[in-house]
């Protein structure tokens, strides 16, 4: 019994560690969830696995350039990826970051300067260098008036050939094409070895535009096409009210359960209620320490689990009653109650696991959270409702044998 007391206190202490440690899902803390499909550029060519992982790698670099890891990218199936960006509120920006192929080309357009936005066909002009040849790109200030531009540096070999080329063609035009459209078409003023800047054509770049382009260039171009299948943005305030509501609901449910268990089963009910609180403590512990993501549905599952947790106790106690009325002693009844109720308990949890399993396999992010919580709760429940309750009841028995107290 002492062991249980210790085990009970330990999770509660951990809980005091701070509720901010709970990892909230996007629907509760706000952010953007995107499900994207990956297709090859050429429909005749099959999509390879390296294409897919390449795409995911590029997207990760685009969305999380500093490697803060707040952003989650998860491959789904063979050609889908689920992206979660906490705190992001601008779906248009996300769309441009994700959807753009970001293929950069420096092409030689001779004596012609092309206006911004002109469509350039594949192979229409001679390509001198591409985005892949860049060593680095960054947001910087320059271009005469100090406006935002993208500074870049070429890799070794290319730096040299690029320098040679620009040396031979001073005065002519070098057009910069991004994803088949012209973004800038400046004249070559002097040979460019190694590094240079890209100005934003006639209108220039905004701070954000230059920064995004630099990010895109650094991340590389997408080896395959990305199509946004669904995008969902949740504002942060919606989450707060959801949490409040569920806390209220949970408390009401819990109070009712505790009271009714005592009403029906007296001391046995008390044992079950204590086991329930212990169960809740274990669940909190797991959620906090294993960084389980909590969505609104996850909270709903948790509340549901609380209701289901006592089901096990009800089955055992009812059985206990029967055995007692059939003539067993109190202690024997406890034993027989547990044994007799066990097959039904196992089967009900098994079907619960089956449902949760199918749900997990089917679901998108938020629903997966529900399935995980449901399964987790069922598993912990098997432990606490059976073992813990029994330990408590047996220790109560050590104190009093008055059958009236046991709601039998």
């Amino acid at each position: 019994m002492a062991v249980f007391v210790v085990l009970a206190v330990w999770p509660l202490i951990k809980l005091k560690g701070g509720q901010d440690l709970v990892n909230l899902g996007l629907d509760l803390k706000g952010g953007t969830n995107v499900i994207a499909g990956i297709k090859p550029y050429d429909p005749k060519v099959p999509l390879t696995e390296s294409d897919v992982s390449g795409v995911i790698g590029v997207l990760r670099k685009r969305l999380d350039p500093q490697g803060l890891h707040e952003i989650i990218l998860q491959k789904q199936g063979t050609n889908r990826v689920e992206i979660e960006i906490p705190g992001e509120k601008d779906p248009d920006r996300v769309r441009s970051l994700i959807g753009k192929t970001a293929k950069l080309e420096f092409v030689y357009t001779g004596s012609q300067s092309l206006p911004d936005g002109t469509k350039v066909e594949e192979g229409q002009y001679k390509v001198i260098a591409t985005g892949a040849d860049l060593k680095k790109a960054e947001l910087t200030y320059g271009g005469g008036v100090g406006q935002p531009v993208v500074g870049f540096a070429f890799k070794g070999e290319v730096a040299r050939t690029f320098g040679t080329f620009t040396d031979q063609h001073v005065g002519e035009y070098l057009t910069i094409v991004l994803d088949g459209a012209v973004i800038s078409s400046p004249v070559i003023k002097q040979p460019i070895y190694g590094s240079g800047i890209i100005e934003g054509g006639s209108n220039g770049f905004s701070f954000e535009e230059a920064g995004d382009l630099a990010t895109l260039l650094n991340a590389g171009s997408l080896p395959a096409q990305v199509e946004i299948l669904s995008m969902s943005v949740v504002g942060p305030t919606l989450g707060k009210s959801s949490i409040d509501q569920s806390v209220k609901a949970g408390l009401l449910g819990l109070v009712l359960i505790v009271v009714l268990m005592i009403f029906f089963y007296r001391l046995n009910g008390v044992a079950a209620d204590l086991a329930l609180l212990y169960y809740a403590a274990i669940m909190f512990f797991i959620i906090v320490n294993f960084n389980v993501t909590l969505t609104i549905y996850g909270i709903a599952a948790f509340l549901l689990n609380i209701g289901m947790a006592v089901d096990v106790n009800v089955l055992i106690f009812e059985r206990l009653r029967e055995e007692f009325r059939a003539g067993k002693t109190l202690f024997q009844s406890v034993e027989a109650g547990h044994k007799g109720a066990l097959p039904a308990i196992i089967d009900s949890h098994a079907t619960m696991f089956l449902s949760a399993g199918v749900l997990y396999w089917l679901g998108t992010g938020t629903i997966k959270g529900f399935a995980v919580m449901l399964a987790l709760g069922a598993a912990v429940n098997l432990f606490s409702a059976i073992l813990v309750t029994r330990a408590m009841v047996e220790s109560f028995l050590g104190v009093s044998h008055n059958t009236k107290l046991y709601g039998i």
Binding site: P91, A300, D311, E318, I367
Partner: protein
């Protein structure tokens, strides 16, 4: 056999209960057909199944549905759905649902004509993707249903398993029927709720089946019908209590939850309630009917089999009628064997759990 007080004869009016369920099921199906005719689909699908753009905005001021509707409908080709309601904490909550891709136009218009909102939710789903989600949702339900059948088939007699999943089917149809009737929005979480109903509602059927199994062992030679009735009575209190306790947090969530949570939880509430009902009046009768039918077929092979006790001649008649098309009750009664109303059970069958 030790006579225990059988408080309710659950199975006496089984025909009535089954027809009652039949009527409710029919009502649900009619609702779905009506929906199919009026809104092109048996159920009111949410954005994640139809595709489209959904905007949920909160204004601190008071905004009318008409204003927003007029502004929005000018921008889109298909008639939009605009709902307004009082936001918790004051202000107006506006929900706008338009066709896929119209979101930007709508927001631009609102920015010009009616700014001052906060975006609570901004969802875009490609129609093809939405259709795919819906399909997977339906498949998941079927798979879970089959998995449960297989699992129960292993753990209990096959007839029990069939009875159990018949009751699950009944529960699912009840929920779907009510959602169809009241046109409550159906989305991916709803499918999750249905799956949970499948996994949970079978619990009380399992409890009864386990009890019947035990009683078969304890009271050999008693009719299955009597044993079933006995088992139902013995487990009645615990089935009501377990479902009751699980309904408590659901009740809490219905009371305090927001609209999205309410829709989700309501499905489970309906499903769990139906679950208890269907265990009594669907699962066990179906199981008994199957036992009766199977028994008749086995009789031809010359084995002794489980019989329905003569206490409900109605059941014996239907057993003959359902499984055997035309063969009279006479052979069943005739094979009654020597005198006593109670028929013997074959030991082999009794030993098979």
């Amino acid at each position: 056999m030790k006579e225990q007080a059988v408080r309710f004869d659950f199975l006496k009016y089984w025909k009535f209960w089954m027809s009652f369920s039949g009527v409710l099921t029919l009502a649900g199906i009619v609702a779905m057909l009506w929906n199919a005719y009026t809104i092109r689909f048996p159920l009111n699908r949410g954005v994640d199944f139809t595709g489209g753009d959904l905007l949920q905005l909160k204004y601190n001021t008071s905004v009318t549905q008409k204003e927003i509707f007029d502004l929005v409908s000018r921008q889109v080709s298909k008639e939009p759905v605009v709902q307004t309601g009082v936001a918790p904490g004051g202000g107006t909550e506006v929900i706008i649902r338009v066709e896929s891709g119209a979101r930007t136009k709508v927001l631009d218009t609102l920015n010009q004509a009616k700014p001052g909102y906060e975006v609570d939710q901004d969802m875009h789903v490609e129609p093809a993707f939405g259709a795919e989600l819906a399909m997977w949702g339906a498949i998941a339900l079927v798979i879970a249903w089959l998995l449960i059948l297989i699992y129960l088939g292993f753990r209990y007699r096959f007839t029990f398993a069939v009875g159990a999943i018949a009751s699950l089917l009944h529960d699912a149809i009840m929920v779907l029927g009510i959602y169809a009737l009241f046109r409550i929005e159906v989305n991916t979480p709803f499918v999750g709720a249905l799956l949970t109903v499948l996994g949970y509602s079978v619990n009380d059927t399992v409890v009864v089946s386990d009890r019947i199994r035990e009683n078969i062992r304890l009271y050999r030679g008693t009719s299955l019908l009597k044993l079933s009735n006995l088992s139902l009575n013995q487990t009645m209190r615990r089935n009501l209590l377990t479902t009751g306790f699980t309904l408590l947090p659901i009740y809490g969530m219905l009371l305090f939850g927001g609209p999205t949570l309410k829709n989700f939880v309501l499905a489970m509430g309906i499903g769990f309630l139906s679950g208890v009902y269907s265990t009594w009046f669907i699962a066990i009768p179906v199981m008994l009917l199957l036992e009766g039918a199977l028994a008749f077929r086995r009789k031809v092979a010359g084995e002794a089999e489980t019989r329905m006790g003569p206490a409900t001649p109605g059941a014996a008649v239907s057993a003959a009628a359902s499984g055997t098309g035309g063969e009279a009750t006479a052979p069943v009664a005739g094979h009654a064997g020597p005198g006593p109303a109670e028929y013997k059970r074959k030991k082999k069958k009794a030993r098979r759990r």
